[in-house]
């Protein structure tokens, strides 16, 4: 089994879960999810799921959202995740979630907080949950954050596609809206989180046109990847230049998807081993600049 990197897992640990209970999608996922979400998922659950799905390392997102349904600011800070990241530094790496709406006077003002998380705490990437802030990717309030990512030489993870189900959020992040951002920040490594449903083909064209754009394919799970996307991964139209296997990475979005099931679906697609290794491992190592022993 190819050893994998899971590029995106969530810290819905019992100690933080009450902050995320208001999310509409627990209801959407079903009654047992509401129960589960009330308890949270201990870090052992996460590590166990990683073991069972052949995952060496996972990117833990210090997730930041503002939840219109609960009225809360729902977030876990980088500092709060430090103990767990330190305790399992061989298994987890940090991705810092940012709130682009906070004013400069706030201690979590995005560019400053990002710099601190990366330089002091060793986080590997930034994350902005666009839908939760009703902010399209080309919104200029994000530009100082993009600029800081360039300075720190880290990628930024942006969820693309429709808003999370039953979240009450607007779908502000069609992948094509990244086009001007890519034009303005040619060197910025952008990771589009999710394949971009229902605009997967837009994600594919962005990746085809721009080498610094990659797709973190955590949702929908591989069983639901559209043929155009799978085709792009296997072989681009101009294979030498735009074969997508360089620019796609697998992720589970634990606990929202079961990593074991997602990994099984991935293997069932039947990619060639070389391509599978890129998607499961190599691309994430390169983009997030991870230390892995080989």
């Amino acid at each position: 089994m190819i050893r994998a990197i899971d590029a995106c897992v969530n810290p819905f640990f019992p100690e933080f879960i009450s902050r995320f209970n208001g999310f509409g999608y627990w209801k959407f996922l079903g009654q047992d999810w509401e129960t589960k979400a009330r308890k949270g998922w201990p870090v052992e659950d996460l590590l166990g799921a990683m073991d069972r799905s052949g995952v060496d390392k996972a990117g833990l997102v210090a997730f930041w959202a503002s939840s219109p349904s609960s009225g809360d600011r729902s977030f876990v800070t980088a500092r709060e995740l430090l103990p767990v990241l330190k305790a399992h530094s061989d298994r987890l790496f940090g991705v810092v979630g940012l709130n682009p709406l906070l004013p400069v006077s706030d201690q979590y003002y995005a560019p400053r907080y990002l710099e601190q998380a990366v330089r002091e705490y060793g986080f590997k990437a930034a994350h902005v949950g666009l839908h939760w802030f009703d902010m399209a990717p080309e919104d200029k309030r994000l530009y100082p954050i993009y600029e800081k990512c360039l300075e720190l030489d880290i990628p930024i993870v942006l969820p693309l596609g429709a808003a999370p189900p039953r979240s009450g959020l607007r779908s502000v992040a069609e992948p094509h809206r990244l086009d001007p951002v890519i034009g303005d920040f040619l060197n910025l490594k952008i990771v589009g989180q999710s394949v971009g449903y229902p605009w997967e083909r837009e994600s594919v064209y962005l990746a085809r046109n721009n080498g610094n754009f990659s797709i973190l394919a955590n949702s929908p799970t591989p069983a639901h990847w559209i043929p155009d996307f799978v085709g792009f991964i296997k072989q681009g139209r101009f294979p030498k230049y735009d074969a997508g296997s360089d620019q796609v990475m697998w992720g589970s979005n634990f606990p929202l998807n079961d990593p074991v099931k997602a990994r099984g679906e991935f293997d069932a697609i039947g990619f060639a081993d070389t391509i599978a290794a890129q998607l499961l491992h190599d691309n994430a190592v390169r983009v997030f600049k991870l230390d892995v022993k080989n």
Partner: protein, 314 residues
Amino acid sequence: MVQTKSSTKDDYKAIDISVNAFLPESSYKHLPLGLWKASGPAWEEKVRNGWSAEYMVEMMDRGNVECSFLISLCSANGVGGEEIMVPAEEILPILQKYPDRFVGMLGISPVRKWGDKYYAPTYIERAIKDHGFKGVHMYPHWYGVRINDRRMYPIYEKCAELDVPIAFQTGQGTMRSNSRVVARPIWIDEIVRDFPTLRVIALHSGYPWEDELVALAITNENVYVCPDVPPPRLWHASILTYLKEEGRFEGMHGSDKVLWATDFPLQEPETSLKEIDALGLRPEIRRKLVRDNAIKVFRLDAVKAGQQPLARTA
């Protein structure tokens, strides 16, 4: 009328916050601008020759100016035209030779990209931290990029982070030069909302929207007005009223928010200050206008006026 000692005008020297570096070795680069044609052959000749640092120092002495902010000007031959750039390195020798007389003001291009030596955010950081520049200067009308455009935001962020003011042209574009209206004063509103600690200096009076500019300066702590164009004898009534009126909003009046400057070579300090005298301002207001406000906005008060030179580079 009794005058306090500190406000008789012979007691203090002026600070000119906008002086363009049209140096003899590079001034000719600016010749393609339609502006000079519009101003007549005499100006074309002058711009061809440029003005040396020695000339400027002498001129400052004549005008009783203590120090000037020397701008490494970035502009273009109209929107889409060739960029005309004075790099910071070109004025560094002058800043080093006359540390008491000149302060560096960094001209930037808003359109250069990451990896370029003059990509604005990194260029700003370098100039401020390594070379002691005190402010950033931008002429967006030459690039056709609006001041509230998203490409400006990393620049504002960097200025706020480094705690230096940014000065940019407001109002109409430069005449006969294919520049654009990119800076209606009201568009500053959005910028200072998104960057509440950023100090913005609106150059060129915002013509023909002076009222709008004054309204912004009254309502926003960090918005300052620098009517370096047109010359004081032509200042618009709203700016004059703003400057003279006092007592309603503490610290937000023109006397605290307006800064005199020459935009040299368009004006020279001696004449310009004579025109200021003719405005009949109260002596305290005159002093703030031509000196104290600049000290405040650019945080020059770290060095005590009169005891040490205000301008310090590197």
